[in-house]
């Protein structure tokens, strides 16, 4: 059954250019079999769908079209658009989607499906409404689309990104650079042309509608000389022209968001369904093979909002009844929960919302799960205390997983109150333990400790069980975060013993992670082995939350010891793991760690990008937020850019109350460095004093030496500090600047190496330091070193990058240009060393600098970049294509594409 009826607005004006772009992209996909993601954006009603539909219709005979749309409800069904697509493809993808598989598995199968056939156009429509699992599929798809012959068109409203927070974050973090296509409003000329045959003042129409095609077409279709004030008025005016019965059918259809299956409309409308022809002819509804839909969601909303409240509830109840009766083996739980709430049917909300929550959580759509539980809680007043407590607990857990801590604590405290009223010692003890964990995350460390102790006290009154083992683990965790090794081991051992006695794998993994961290920090010979064991166990048993935390531990603590290869390895694997499973909290921690890693490696632009990603979500947890603020502040301070103190001040406020060295130290060190760069040596003492004391207390050689280093730079001399000599900072403190610089270079920290060199007592070292600092864009530090040289009577120092570096946009030094020329010839380091008569280590240093300045990851790319920028005359394809830096990985691979 198809009722496609032409509509005045079906004429697509001013879209030729966009169609041409899409045509070209598809042609390229077809000829190369390399896929492409296109983000099609524009305001509501601007005609994104119309454009994509027209394009698909024109291509229908040549390629396969797969279409998946997101539903306009607040908590949509997980993987909604993928379910549409799977229905069309059938086969394994359909089976997989039916099984509530992880987004990663779905995306992988989708890619396989796309590869198995000729070229396809894959449409993901209205992503501003997408659930979390669908966005996770998009992330994987974006990263690997070049392996499948498909043009992926992903559309979203860019005027609603404030509300579609998850989409905004995902778009900001897409690893490959997608093509962007903005669908613009109509020009005045176009509106005037359209209005002409309707006798409407086109100029006034353009002014009123701002050229929004949907608004324009509604006004024109409504007829009449008056131009309505709003889209809503225009829609209602147009609908008012329908005869009474047809107008009532419109109301019936409006209570179902998105597409309405024909069987559903027939069941809902009864005899009114006869009026469908009328509604289609008027253009208010449009029909496809098995369903009808409003021409636009804006129209449906306008109609739905205009229905009298009591009638709306009657219609919603009817919709719910029809959907429940229809049943089926795989009902759309999110849809049932939506209609249950819209119908104000308490029992049905309590029946469907928790089920929808469970289903969403199992698909990795934890945000939707949290929202479904919130929905159930709103209707839970009549439920038993136990029932309410359970719902609140699930809500708290899902909010915790998705980095919504304020909401998590609110739900957790309510659950705790209910457990108290119930008089359940077990329930109260366990809720207290959960609350303790949440409080620690928002920096309320002492409240967290009190709750943790109380929880253990309560649970110890009962026969020992899982809850007690976890509560011991929680105390161990709190000690570990304070870097209280003794406490963490003591409580961890208790947890471990009980876990083994109970054969409780979760408690075991939890305790192992805590002990693993303190052992690592104490310099245990086995390094990260314990932590790796905990991670493997967590993954084997499917304890996703614990696995996420293990990944963070394997990145965060090695980073403090400047073990970048280890950190990089687990960062890449951890980000993939957490993204796939919707573990937003740990994902955010990892991105904050990535910012620090990039900063330390001298990749400041990337560091600032990663930090901004963490900061963009205003609700993000204080700990990663503090780290990200410190990184952003440092990038600005080191570049001499304005606005460095804003993030550094915010960071200090955030971490002050935590009492945790892991939060306090990076902020104190960043503030000290920024003060030194500003020439305010006098405040460095104050900035670092308490952090240094804490670090000494915790025996953290790296933190002690870093803080002592900035104090020394600011002219202070601390008494001998234990353990410091082992780090390159310590070498600087004892005057061994050359060894310090060498060590930093080996580790991979160019900025620290240059600063170490700047302590040199010979002019060449200082001049090299200035060059390297300019190369990094570290203007203020370069100026400080230059001043030092001038004080020694040296004249004629460059005030900026040396003139010869300005001839090339990448700012390479003369020596680096020579090395680059060798690279384009395909020479290996040993050969380059021979030719330039320098050591291989020096060549390695220069190669790293060249790659960093050209923002490329491999020697091959450096050659290509050199040719593009006209930096060398030596052509020829280099033979060596060794990736420099750390293990090659998907992340690095895609970062390169982004660059």
């Amino acid at each position: 059954m198809s009722f496609d009826v032409p509509d005045p607005s079906d004429a697509l004006l001013e879209r030729d250019e966009s169609m041409l772009v899409l045509d070209e992209l598809l042609t390229r996909v077809r000829s190369t079999s390399v896929g492409q993601l296109v983000l099609v954006r524009g305001e509501a009603g601007v005609g994104k769908t119309a454009l994509i539909r027209r394009f698909c219709e024109a291509q229908r005979d040549r390629v396969r079209i797969l279409w998946g749309g997101c539903q306009p409800v607040r908590t949509p069904r997980p993987l909604g658009p993928l379910i549409d697509i799977a229905e069309a493809t059938g086969g394994e993808l359909e089976q997989l989607v039916g099984l509530a598989a992880t987004p990663h598995a779905v995306a992988t199968q989708l890619l396989r499906e796309l590869r198995s056939r000729g070229p396809s156009v894959l449409v993901l429509e209205d992503l501003h409404w997408a659930d979390e699992a669908t966005l996770d599929v998009l992330i994987v798809l974006a990263a690997r689309i070049d392996s499948a012959p498909a043009l992926v068109l992903a559309s979203y409203r860019d005027d609603e990104l404030d509300r579609a927070e998850q989409l905004r974050l995902v778009l900001g973090d897409l690893v490959s650079r997608p093509r962007r296509l903005k669908v613009e409003s109509l020009s005045e000329t176009a509106v005037v042309e359209l209005a002409q045959s309707y006798g409407v003042d086109g100029h006034e129409l353009h002014r009123r509608t701002a050229g929004n095609p949907f608004f324009v077409s509604e006004v024109l279709a409504a007829g009449g000389a008056e131009i309505p004030e709003t889209v809503r008025d225009a829609v209602l005016a147009r609908a008012a022209r329908l005869p009474g019965r047809a107008r009532r059918l419109l109301d019936v259809a409006a209570v179902v968001p998105g597409q309405i299956d024909m069987w559903l409309l027939e069941a809902l409308a009864g005899e009114l369904v006869d009026e469908l022809e009328e509604c289609l002819a008027s253009g208010m509804l449009s029909a496809r093979a098995t369903h009808v839909a409003f021409r636009h969601e804006l129209a449906r909303l306008a109609i739905e909002e205009a229905i009298a409240p009591n009638r709306r509830i009657v219609l919603q109840r009817r919709a719910l009844g029809v959907l429940v009766d229809r049943g089926g083996e795989d009902p759309d739980l999110a849809r049932l929960a939506y209609h249950a709430e819209a119908a104000g049917d308490v029992q049905s909300v309590l029946r469907w919302a928790p089920l929808a929550g469970e289903h969403a959580a199992s698909s990795g759509a934890h945000r939707e799960a949290a929202a479904q539980y919130a929905r159930a809680v709103r209707f839970a007043d009549g439920l038993s205390l136990q029932g309410r407590a359970e719902l609140l607990q699930r809500r708290a857990d899902e909010c915790y997983t998705t980095d919504q801590f304020a909401a998590a604590i609110e739900a957790q405290e309510a659950a705790l109150d209910l457990q108290r009223s119930l008089g359940s010692t077990l329930g109260e003890g366990d809720a207290l333990r959960s609350l303790s964990r949440l409080l620690r995350f928002v920096g309320r460390t002492s409240d967290a400790q009190a709750a943790a102790v109380e929880a253990v006290g309560m649970l110890e009154r009962l026969p020992p069980g899982h809850e007690l083992a976890i509560a011991y683990g929680n105390l161990s965790h709190l000690c570990m975060n304070r870097e209280d090794a003794g406490g963490a081991r003591a409580w961890g051992t208790r947890a471990l013993e009980l876990a083994e006695r109970l054969d409780d794998d979760e408690a075991l993994v939890y305790a192992l992670t805590n002990i693993g961290v303190v052992d690592f920090l104490a310099g245990a010979a086995e390094g990260t082995v314990e932590l790796e064991r905990a991670l493997t166990l967590a993954q084997r048993h499917g304890f996703e939350e614990h696995a996420g935390r293990s990944f963070v531990s394997l990145v965060l603590w090695p980073l403090r010891h400047r073990m970048f290869a280890v950190a990089d390895r687990y960062l890449v694997a951890g980000l993939e793991y957490c993204s796939e499973r919707g573990l937003d909290t740990w994902r955010l921690y990892l991105i904050a760690c990535r910012a620090r890693l990039e900063l330390d490696l001298g990749r400041w632009s990337e560091a600032a990008d990663s930090a901004s990603l963490v900061l963009r979500d205003p609700r993000s947890a204080p700990v990663p937020r503090g780290w990200a603020l410190a990184v952003l502040g440092l990038v600005r301070a080191r570049r001499g850019d304005p606005g460095a103190s804003d993030p550094l001040d915010a960071a200090r406020t955030l971490v002050q109350s935590t009492g945790e060295l892991q939060c306090i130290a990076p902020v104190a060190a960043a503030r000290a460095e920024a003060a030194w760069l500003r020439g305010e040596d006098a405040i460095v003492d104050e900035e670092t004093e308490s952090a240094l004391e804490l670090a000494l207390h915790r025996r953290s050689a790296w933190v002690v030496s870093e803080l002592a280093y900035w104090r020394w730079r600011a002219g202070m001399s601390d008494a001998h500090l234990p353990g410091v000599a082992a780090t390159p900072y310590g070498l600087s403190l004892t005057g061994e600047w050359a060894r310090a610089a060498e060590l930093w270079t080996q580790i991979g920290c160019p900025y620290e190496a240059a600063l170490a060199l700047a302590d040199g007592d010979d002019q060449p070292a200082l001049r090299q330091a200035i060059d390297d600092l300019h190369g990094l864009g570290a203007r203020p530090a370069a100026a400080i070193v230059a001043r030092r040289l001038r004080e020694r009577g040296v004249r004629g120092l460059p005030r900026g990058p040396r003139p010869q570096t300005r001839h090339n946009p990448a700012g390479l030094t003369a020596r680096e240009l020579e090395v680059l020329a060798c690279l384009t010839e395909g020479l290996r380091n040993a050969q380059i060393a021979q030719r330039l008569v320098v050591s291989e280590k020096t060549v390695d240093h220069h190669v790293s600098a060249v790659l960093r300045k050209l923002d490329v990851r491999s020697r091959g790319e450096a050659g290509a970049a050199a040719l593009r920028l006209g930096l060398t005359q030596h052509a020829g394809e280099p033979e060596a294509k060794r990736s420099l830096g750390f293990e090659p990985s998907l992340e690095n691979e895609s970062r390169r594409q982004r660059a």
């Binding site: 962007r180 632009s605 304005p642 900026g800």
Partner: protein, 90 residues
């Protein structure tokens, strides 16, 4: 949104064709800036064309650097500024 002055140095002198090419060049810059929410207000060019002082509205200094890299423009120094109007008190 803050206002910034960006100092740039062009050792070989800034070359912008006066004809169509120049308009296209500027339009390209403006479009690439828009992706990061950066608005180029205007620029002052030294007589020898080796230095420019460019006025921008931008969300962050990082956005200015990102667009500069995309437009292959050098950045010497970024300063956050506010307007002082000599006739404000008149």
């Amino acid at each position: 949104m803050s206002r910034y002055v960006v100092q740039r140095t062009f050792p070989e002198g800034l070359q912008i064709p006066v004809a169509d090419g120049g308009a296209e060049l500027c339009r390209g810059v403006v479009e690439r800036n828009a992706e990061d929410g950066v608005t180029w207000i205007c620029s002052f060019v030294s007589e020898d064309r080796t230095r420019t002082f460019c006025v921008y509205d931008a969300p962050t200094p990082e956005a200015i650097r990102r667009t500069a890299a995309r437009n292959e423009l050098p950045v010497d120094e970024i300063t956050r500024v506010s307007v002082l109007d000599p006739y404000f008190y008149a």
